[in-house]
Amino acid sequence: MADLATIALTAAGLFFFVAGTVGLIRFPDTFTRLHALTKADNLGLGFIALGIALQAETWAQVARLGLIWALALLAAGAMAQLVARTALEREDAE
């Protein structure tokens, strides 16, 4: 049962990782790419962490997975703004 849930969740995670990369490659400009990266990737990481948490042997491992995801979310929210703002200011070489 837990194994099935892990497979479903990690599959969802992989899907969003791939979606993020497809967006990063296909989307037409810097800002739309940043949308794809920020949203899809962290969701992908979240699903994967959730799926792996079901396989964990101790609560410490579950807590650590939670911490990893929380860190990634916080970092993504802050990074998206910083990179977007930096991209907004300077037009560099195309």
Binding site: D3, T6, I7, T10, A11, G13, L14, F17, V18, G20, T21, V22, L24, I25, R26, F27, P28, D29, T30, R33, L34, L37, D41, N42, G44, L45, I48, A49, I52, Q55, A56, E57, Q61, R64, L65, L67, I68, L71, A72, L74, A75, A76, A78, M79, L82, V83, A84, R85, T86, A87, L88, E89, R90, E91, D92, A93, E94
Partner: protein, 112 residues
């Protein structure tokens, strides 16, 4: 389960390859930076997937990588700011950057 997790790890790895393509092509520095960011997140995802196969030691590595990936982007922003303080709001945004751009991907242009 080992087989499946290995497959997921390979899938994440493949999506990292896509990110490297964006690092290569750019065109702007911010594009390269965010693709490197994806390599960071993807690397964390990869380590998390592999953790159950490797006695869970990879979780600590994932934690450190998650921290370092954030620092890389901070370093980028600091390097790009004029006084090195890293405040991206020190200069006003350039108006031409905020214009919605028509691109070859614009679906309304194609169908409209």
């Amino acid at each position: 389960m080992t087989l499946w997790l290995t497959f997921v790890a390979l899938g994440v790895l493949a999506s990292l390859a896509g990110a490297l393509w964006r690092v290569w092509r750019g065109p702007r520095e911010a594009d390269r930076m965010m693709a490197a960011q994806l390599v960071g997140t993807g690397g964390v995802g990869l380590l998390v997937v592999l953790a159950p196969l490797q006695d869970w030691a990879a979780l600590d590595v994932a934690l450190v990588l998650a921290l370092l990936a954030a620092l890389a982007a901070v370093g980028f922003v600091k390097a790009r700011s004029d006084d090195g303080a890293g405040d991206p709001e020190e200069a006003p945004p350039t108006p031409e950057m905020m214009r919605p751009r028509q691109t070859r991907h614009d679906p309304r242009g194609r169908h409209g």
